[in-house]
Point group: C2
Chain length 226, copies 2
Amino acid sequence: MARATKEQSEITGRRILEVASALFADRGYAAVGLTEVATLAEVTRGAIYHHYASKQGLFQAVTAAAQQRVADEVERAADSCPDDWQGLLAGCRAFLSAAVADRNRRILLIDAPAVLDWTTWRAQDGAASGRHLVEALTTLSADGVLRVRSIESTAALLSGAMNEAALHIATAPDPGVTLDEVVDDLSRMLGALRSSPVEDEVSGSVQDLGSGAVSVVGGQEVVADQ
Amino acid sequence: MARATKEQSEITGRRILEVASALFADRGYAAVGLTEVATLAEVTRGAIYHHYASKQGLFQAVTAAAQQRVADEVERAADSCPDDWQGLLAGCRAFLSAAVADRNRRILLIDAPAVLDWTTWRAQDGAASGRHLVEALTTLSADGVLRVRSIESTAALLSGAMNEAALHIATAPDPGVTLDEVVDDLSRMLGALRSSPVEDEVSGSVQDLGSGAVSVVGGQEVVADQ
DNA sequence: TAATTTACATACACGCTGTATGTAAAACGA
DNA sequence: TCGTTTTACATACAGCGTGTATGTAAATTA
């Protein structure tokens, strides 16, 4: 059989990864066998084991790619904001939006913590979106805008809150939890961490978040109409 | 071989469940085979499949038991509080404390969402600890103490926040995230959801929980007596 | 007490992961 | 350019784990 060149090999590797990503996202890690991945990628299982060390290794590459996609969107959203505080809020909204996406949801929020061991998963998360959150909280804390007991614990709380919320947004029965509702309630909670409310920022951040109804940034004074 | 009576059969079922619970909690669902469960329970795999429909069915029974344990502790803590707001905070602390326990952590926080399908898992969670959270938020909202956009989204945010925080508390490198830090930061966030500080309701923690600006030390002292 | 159900044990079929081996062409050095 | 080495897979095989079918003796029931 004709052997492929280096570039073709790389293409094969990506094709395997994309096929696996789609299958894992659709039916979960355990329910997908490598034979199915191989056939859909038009290779044999031998090719998979040539490009990736194991099924876990393939999955880890899949999660890394998904993490990167989410992190890119978060960074893009945060960077387009004038100040750090709005950047944090925009980043949270971007994370929610990206995590809800079909290609990322099951992989990142459900399977990854169970398949990958804790240290591996934490390292990947820290290298991607988690790092942004910690950095944002750190600078805000250093600037005196944020007042928290522990940045690490706050980051964990926020990260977990958004993860779980993303799942509820995605698999909502009929009109269940919506993204706007979550962003609204999350903004209220974040507002509590501000050392002092800044009035004039409120108006600008409302349209910035685009949450449709009402957003709460400076304090918790705004009430949401249905 | 001598066949067992009904009572002995029930005992056998519980022994299988306890052995499986310990193994799943220690090494995770995927890494534990039913042969090991059988040998440690001093039965054969046939006995397991007689008492439980499948490996998933056994795991579901394990998760239900763990959920029950956690829910019991949460209810006990919440009921021993004078008012509903403190009950919420105490319940959150109790949940964190129970979720960190070795017997519950991996089962409830890592494996269950991946092994059980979403509807099954949500139904079990709603029947146990999740229900308490929603009920607490509902009554607080009805009494005007709580001001949120959506109770469901808030419950999801809080639940996810505590889940992730519990993992960070449990697997913390050296002096990592501690329970007190998490409870403190969580209390700050929850403080933002109070519609307005009620003077006569909470004696000591009037100004601290009402606005997110000021420190939360007073509010934490109420809950964190440990 | 005879019939039936129960509470397991035993044996087997099947799928999936991982590994060892084979192979032909690409990459590489002289 | 030519021989050697490495690469990029395909093929074949071993082992484990779930699930299921079957057997069996005692407990339960009529």
